[in-house]
Symmetry: C2
Subunit: 198 residues, 2 copies
């Protein structure tokens, strides 16, 4: 009854987080109502991202170049590495404008159930980067959830041998909350009040 390419579009959009079948149908109609100003540009943007976006082999960020523009930037302190769970957290941190170091994107947290171990999170790569830089600081900006804090403690232990100062976000991070949902002011405050991990 509904034309097959429209059905296919609804099915694909319904797989995005926050969209279900009903909202996907509404989105498809909004797209079909604006073929030139919304549908075609979106198709082109997706196609361009599919072709051009790659993951940074140093830090795990998503960018057009590898190493990413943050890892290439000589003005950003290679001796300060902020560890985040995902690229959305890196984006949130960048929006605060208060961090001038570099990142390590874990791509998740340690999880026995989902078979996510240190290898999946690139922990060896992080340890090597930190060890290569004397007097460096590693800021563990992980969510204040059990999984986030477990991962933070594991990382702190792994980083002990490097001589780096290991801190975590402090003041302002609400217990049980996810980094990604913080407002920028709170995130900035938490960054500035970071504390050494005991």
């Amino acid at each position: 009854m509904i034309a097959e390419p429209i059905e296919e579009l609804v099915r694909l959009l319904a797989r995005l987080p926050g969209l279900g079948p009903r909202s996907a149908r509404r989105a498809v109609l909004a797209l079909l109502k604006r073929p030139d100003t919304l549908l075609a540009p979106l198709a082109a943007a997706l196609e361009r991202c599919a072709r051009e976006v790659r993951r940074c082999s140093l830090c795990g960020n998503l960018d057009l170049c590898d190493p990413c523009s943050i890892c290439r930037d000589p003005n950003r302190d290679a001796g300060q590495i902020l560890v985040v769970e995902g690229v959305e957290d890196l984006w949130a941190m960048e929006r605060t404008g208060s961090f001038k170091g570099r990142y390590h994107v874990l791509g998740g947290t340690l999880s026995a159930i989902d078979a996510v171990g240190p290898e999946e999170l690139g922990v060896d790569r992080l340890v090597r980067r930190v060890a290569a830089h004397p007097n460096s600081e590693v800021i563990l900006a992980l969510s204040a959830t059990v999984a986030g804090q477990t991962t933070a403690h594991y990382l702190a232990r792994r980083l002990k041998g490097t001589g780096a100062k290991v801190t975590r976000l402090g003041y302002g991070l609400p217990v049980g909350g996810e980094l990604n949902y913080l407002d920028e002011g709170t995130l900035k405050a938490a960054f500035e009040a970071r504390q050494p991990l005991s």
Copy 2:
């Protein structure tokens, strides 16, 4: 900070109904995490819809052919025309499986503020289709809102000269609700209990 094509994708997705900047960012990351199984297929589906989907010049439905497959279907009664506000309502009606006639998609309701008049809703086209068919029935399946019911009364007046029986959805339609949000059972019941418009 965020690569330009990713920003562009976030901006475009944030324009879809039900998505804001935050959920658009989450959607983009979900897409970038699945480049081959989600991002590329979505780009292809959009591109295909942009190329192939057209509006039916008879009824206003969206389909790959014009006239659309419902208007072409000889098994669907051309003497029964169900008038809906939008294609989402046509889809909702088709999902009930209880209607075997054809449609007229208004594309909105009469609105002085938005400068939507009978011309924008294709009312002349509807009247001609109805007049061309003796003993036809027009079912006004509009939302039970002020705008929907104002439009329904206007249509009933315009259709008077055609000799067609004009009905409206009856039993089950909650007052103040929009057709598009009805569950299929209620919509089916409303269709079966349709009543002549006094």
